[in-house]
Symmetry: C2
Subunit: 192 residues, 2 copies
DNA sequence: CCTACCGATCGGTAGG
DNA sequence: CCTACCGATCGGTAGG
């Protein structure tokens, strides 16, 4: 007995991610969420402990995913240009497998309470340091032009972020084609 | 008599933009806003009509600003590469002159009620059509590689969007230097 | 998993 | 510009 419980929690988590993405954390009420999974608001608390807890799980699940991904890339790939390409594909792969949750992760983390807020920001900083290192090494090795690593990093990260809001699986272009275009744009630029 | 009223409303609007940026529209209460301008919540309503109205003014002020800007660029500049460069500088100029309001414009417009929500989305569409036209013409004239105009547009728009969150006037780099780096990155790419 | 309900807070109004 | 207050809604609990 008591085996479907985890899947019910999963359903709640996914409905919450969708609502957080569409309306934001603050504008989503527990009654909205309850309605989405056909429960009374009070019944949600048999599966989750609080609204904050849902946000925490979404944010840290994705943060760990990205951090583990970039650490693997840094270990496996040697060439900075290849690392950068793998990084872009990592973002796109995560985006397509878990698009709703990642938008909450991107936009709603600021509603985390302390101390989780600081913990989250630290995970993000660790990720960004890896990212900057890749660019620094690309410059040092002469593969990249002498650019500001911060500007390049934020330009790439934000262009990938947009894909989550914008990409719809029904579209003709596969996500790989979009990835290749972004990689080409960043590496080779727009001009002939 | 009654002359300082407009400046008091301005103070409220600016405080609201800052709060909307930092906490989001829904998580900002009228009591928060009142405290920021040293009033009682009820006294706000001598200067503004509703919380929605504040959001409306912020969103449409910026939307009109961008639309007018791109229409002027399209008329004045001939070369697509120059138009693109002028467009990037437009975004950065708006960002530095009105950084807080623009973040609300970017992130909080979804909390607009109807029919303003649809009106806003239409303004945005008109802006994006101009943007795509510039890229299309650049490709047709042979100035740009054969890229997906949508991907290029969103990559550029989102990389500029990030600057608002990230740029602090105290920093060493001037906004023009950042702009030049982004223009160079988009036009020439990262690789040697 | 539900009914019934809690104290707190919300956007906004009445009236001066 | 304030005091006093409205009905609605919030996240969450008690108890079964």
């Amino acid at each position: 007995m008591a085996t479907v419980d985890t899947s019910k929690k999963q359903m709640i988590m996914e409905a919450a991610a969708k609502l957080f993405r569409d309306r934001g954390y603050s504008a989503t009420s527990m009654r909205d969420l309850a309605k989405a999974v056909h429960l009374q608001a009070s019944s949600l608390y048999n599966h989750i402990n609080s609204k904050q807890e849902i946000l925490k799980e979404i944010c840290f699940h994705n943060a760990r995913h990205f951090l583990a991904g970039i650490e693997q890339i840094v270990q496996e790939q040697q060439d900075p240009a290849e690392q950068l390409q793998a990084l872009i594909l990592l973002h796109l792969r995560v985006a397509t497998s878990d698009a709703t949750s990642i938008t909450s992760f991107n936009d709603e983390w600021r509603h985390l309470d302390q101390p989780e807020l600081d913990q989250f920001i630290n995970l993000r900083k660790r990720y960004e340091e890896h990212f900057r290192n890749i660019i620094d090494q690309g410059i040092a090795a002469g593969h990249f032009r002498k650019v500001d690593p911060n500007i390049v990093m934020y330009t790439i990260l934000s262009s990938l972020r947009w894909v989550y809001d914008w990409y719809r699986p029904e579209r003709a272009d596969s996500i790989d084609e979009i990835g290749e275009e972004i990689v080409a744009l960043v590496l080779n630029g727009l001009q002939h």
